[in-house]
Each structure stands twice: as C-alpha cells, then as structure tokens.
Amino acid sequence: MPSTPLTAKTASLVSCTICHLLIRKHPAMDDSLGKCPRCGATLRSRKRNSIARTWALILAAFLFYIPANLIPITKVTSLGVVQTDTIMSGVIYFITSGMWPIGLIIFVASVFVPLFKLIILTFLLVSVQRRSCWRQRDRTRLYRLTEAIGRWSMMDIFVVTILVALVHLGAVANIEAQKGAVFFAAVVVITMFAAMSFDPRLIWDIKELEDARKHPA
C-alpha cells in the first residue's frame, strides 16, 4: 500500500497562493498566519470558508441567471420600429437567418458556459462534502477548466458595448442596453468569484483524512 502522500498541510507548511513560498506553520498558530513575507498575500493553509462562500456565490449566480435570460439585454429602434432582444432571441435570430455558426458561438459563450460552470461547481462542492475519493485527478482538471472558461461569457456584454456605441443614429437606427445586460454581467462576475473561492485542494484532503483515520499516528 502506498504511504500517505506528503502535502504541505500534513508537513505543517503553508504554501503562499500567489508566490508559492513555503512557510513553516507553528502549532500555536491558528488558521490565519499573517502575511507572506515575500509578496504580502494573506497566508492560509486553505482558502477561508471555501465551501460556504462558494455555495453562497453559486446560489446568487443561479438566481441572477433567471432574470439575465428573461429580461431583454438590448432595445433596437429602426425607423420607428422598436424591438427588444433577450440572449436566447438573439441566438434564435442567427440560427433562423442562416448564420448558425455565430448563433452557436453566442449560445455557447452566454448560455452554456455559465450554466456548465455552475453545475460543475455544484458537483465539486457536493463531492467534496460527501468526502468522495472518486477520480480526484479528473475533478481537479474539471475545476481548472471552469476557472479558464468563465471569462468567455463576457463576450455578450462586449457585443452590447460595441452595438450601443456604433448604432446611435437617432430615429434611423438606435440600440440601447437594457437591464438584462446588468443581470447577465452580474452572473459572469459572480461565477468568476465562485470559481476563485473554491479550493481544489479540498478534493485531495479526503485522502489524508482517511489515511489518518486508518493509521493513527
């Protein structure tokens, strides 16, 4: 049987999250260890209240996801005709007008990625709370993926930014941003914070806990 893997935590060390400096943790110290002597970041063995914070942010994002998809994000006025668009109606417009690749890009970036991220983070939280040992390496990879793709959801906000800047010709053609865009931006920012507050090291802590229980020192 392989011996217990030696992690920074089991070796009474703390690794700085920013600059990776290893600092010895004195047994008298509690969770907060002050600042990193090198880069000044707050030192913690694990991110603070990682599970509770991530849950709170995920729930907030799920709530905001509903108005973000139901409330229009743009209002187009063209020669007196007013039309409001939600994210999905924009996607449907592109698909029906034969430009399905663009429709697909918007769908993936604005609808699929935020939802995928929320579902993956929920799954990671539940699996950590259930102390699951199932495919830890793949779950860590999944976490890295959610961290990397989140930013691409901002694309639709940028599209609206460019549209309102360009199409501003009074009665002839005018595009205005609507409240849905604010909710949507909130979803993107909150899910990014949610991914940052989750600590992937919790996925691996289970192994050390189990080993410690089986072979008490």
């Binding site: 920013i18 600059c19 090198r38 609206v160 460019i162 800047a165 941003a177 604010v182």
Partner: protein, 207 residues
C-alpha cells in the same frame, strides 16, 4: 527555482522537491497534473520587449478611431471608450465600470506593473515594492479580457453586416495586434524569475 528546494502544488497541495530544470523545460504535479514550473528562454528580455510593445499598442488602441458605421450616407466614428460612455449615460454605471476595467484598466495595469518590475531587473536593480506590485499583477490577470472583447467585435460586425457597412479603423488593428502581443508576453513570463530575487537578496522564510 533552485533545484532541491521544495514547492507545494497549488491545486492539490502535494509537496515536490524541485529537480534541476534547464531553460525551456517545465514541471507538472505528479498527482493532479497542474503546471508547477515553466521556464522560458530569455524570459526577462522577451517579456519586457513584448510588454513595452503592448503598452504602445494599448495607448494607440484607445486614442485612435475604433470602428466606423455607415448607414444611408451617415457615418459615425466611435472610440473604444464610446460604448462605455453610452452605458454610463443610460444609467448603468456598474456595467460601464466593469467593461472599462476588463478592457482598459486591467490590461494597462498588467503591462505597467510588468514594465515596472522587469525593466529595473534587467539592469540589476530592484524597484521598491516589486513583490507587492507583481502580486497585484497576478491577481488582476483573470480580469483582463481583451481577447474576449476581440471575439465580441467579430460577432458585432457580423450582426450589423445586414444593417449597415462597418468600417474598421486604426485602433481595431492595434487592438488585434495587442491581443497577440499580450498573449505572447504572458506566455514568455516565468514568474519565478521575479520571486527568486527574494532569496538572492538573502531573505528566507522564518523557520
């Protein structure tokens, strides 16, 4: 990083003894596969050169006309900042701030802090507070979203193509070049180049 020193994986906390790594090689965590170290050839010079190029392009991208829009003989020229201004005017200051931060402030802060830290290092000087500046640069990194904005530009051009003629201007080309320069700049950066200066200074973590 010095061979023989220890490092913990940032994703799974496993301790690793750093092997001797020659330039251009990288090391990954043997348990979870996270990238631990990536050494680059001429990292300092390359990153510095690209950061200075990037700064010039960023200034140009923000000062020259960005996109033109032609409909029924009317032409409208816009700047990169026009849309942000429009958000602010229509009562969405937070949205304006978010777009301003992700497309202008974050990349600018990133490039300036890279130049602030790396330029003196090139000449064997240590600028005051360099480790704090470098930490903030790393914190800001996920919020710099120029490449996402670029895809946004392409989507909007396609979206408006039926309605009017879109005239790309100087700033768009600067912006496009900037995305590649910024990506190359960050790819050639080896953060341990900066962090290791601390040990060279005779500092060590308290035991």
């Amino acid at each position: 990083m010095k061979a023989g020193s220890f490092m913990a994986c940032h994703d799974c906390d496993l301790l690793h003894r750093i092997p001797a790594i020659s330039e251009g090689m990288s090391a990954t965590c043997r348990r979870c596969g996270a990238s631990l170290i990536k050494t680059k050839k001429n990292s300092l010079e390359r990153t510095l050169a690209l950061a200075i190029t990037g700064l010039m392009l960023l200034i140009m991208a923000n000062s020259f006309p960005f996109l033109g829009f032609k409909i029924q003989g009317q032409v409208r020229h816009t700047l990169l900042l026009t849309g942000i201004q429009q958000f602010y005017k229509s009562g969405m200051p937070w949205l304006a701030l978010l777009v301003l931060f992700t497309t202008v402030i974050a990349p600018l802060a990133q490039l300036l802090s890279l130049i602030y830290v790396l330029l003196p290092l090139k000449f064997q000087h240590r600028p005051p507070g360099m480790f704090h500046v470098f930490r903030w640069m790393q914190i800001i990194q996920p919020w710099s979203m120029m490449e996402v904005f670029m895809v946004g530009i392409l989507v909007s051009i396609v979206k408006l193509a039926k309605m009017a003629q879109i005239l790309p201007d100087i700033a768009v080309f600067c912006f496009m070049a900037l995305i590649f320069v910024l990506a190359a700049c960050l790819a050639s950066l080896d953060p341990h180049l900066v962090w290791d200066q601390w040990e060279k200074n005779g500092c060590h973590p308290p035991r």
